[in-house]
Subunit: 195 residues, 2 copies
């Protein structure tokens, strides 16, 4: 799956991801990453100018490793709006646990670090595109609930599939991943599809 390049840069990214995944996204320091890779803390700064850039690079690295494009094929090729909505929620919802570590770390930096904020916003804007596409497909079928504008429906779906909400249900409330996907699909259908 991964094209293990084994350069120091890639080893740094791998170590970062492992630590973030293990530590639940919190409290991973530059020195932790360095010692895991087996290099000095300062050597990290030869590869990444700062912590925010390292985290952003790590999040792109996850996408590369996990065939983000392939995951979206079922959503893009869905025949109906309803199918597209379910496929989108399935695809993105199942991707969340994979990026969760990095996402949480970036999310935590968002409030203090402007670089981290822009990077996170960029990524989230892409998610909004996915939501908009699903809403548009529903609307094209005449299936969109008329109590919401398509803009509102997009914002709402974007909120529904947020990392925070996944964290809430799957981590804090102990839901299984499968049940999370089921309920989110059901919820979205009941709220967004006209009766």
């Amino acid at each position: 799956m991964a094209t293990e390049k084994n350069t120091t840069r890639d080893r740094i990214l791998e170590a970062t991801l492992n630590l973030l995944q293990a530590g639940g996204g919190g409290g991973v320091r530059m020195s932790d990453i360095a010692s895991t890779v087996g290099i000095s803390r300062q050597a990290l700064y030869l590869h990444f100018p700062n912590r925010a850039d390292l985290l952003v690079a790590a999040s792109r690295h996850v996408d590369d490793k996990n065939d983000i494009e392939g995951r979206l094929v079922p959503s893009r090729t869905a025949k109906t709006g309803r199918e597209r909505l379910a496929a989108w929620i399935g695809a993105f919802g199942n991707y969340i646990p994979i990026i969760h570590g990095v996402a949480k770390a970036l999310l935590a930096m968002k409030d203090t670090d402007t670089a981290a904020m822009t990077a996170w916003n960029d990524r989230m804007q892409a998610v909004r595109q996915g939501c908009a596409a699903a809403v548009d497909a529903l609307e094209a079928d005449g299936d969109l609930f008329d109590g919401l504008t398509s803009e509102e429906a997009t914002d709402w779906l974007w909120m529904l599939v947020s990392v925070r909400n996944w964290e809430h249900l799957c981590r804090e409330c102990g839901w299984s991943q499968a049940r999370y996907i089921e309920v989110m699909q059901q919820t979205a259908a009941r709220t967004l599809i006209a009766r």
Copy 2:
């Protein structure tokens, strides 16, 4: 409304709330609070052992000032489950903007500071109680959608009314407070009430 006690302690809490409200919950330092009150930074530690305790006290102070109990009366006295659900979402949803500053600051500390985490969890557990009461009322009327257990319905409603989701729609997407309440009520009704 507030019983302006004007002790140093109260002036600290007021200043903290004002700064958090103004600064959007981020980047308020102990020294900022001290200089706003007009005392030395060290004097803060004569009243509160640390930043987490100060924030927690500030959040309790908000409750005292804003008649949290009174706000819940319409929800508790609702005649039907449907009414109770709408009243609860209205009451809590309209309280979020008031506590938002403090909530965000506490939320940011949650990942690093265990004291902040327990305090926040306590408060959120109370919110879950409110959600559970609304779900129970629906169930008592036989109106609860049978695709969800009552536990699941509670978790889901708890997620729906989270501070993060309010932030997402009202701050990031620019929804009005009134529209936020409307759509959340609609969403909850469509998802939780049997057809």
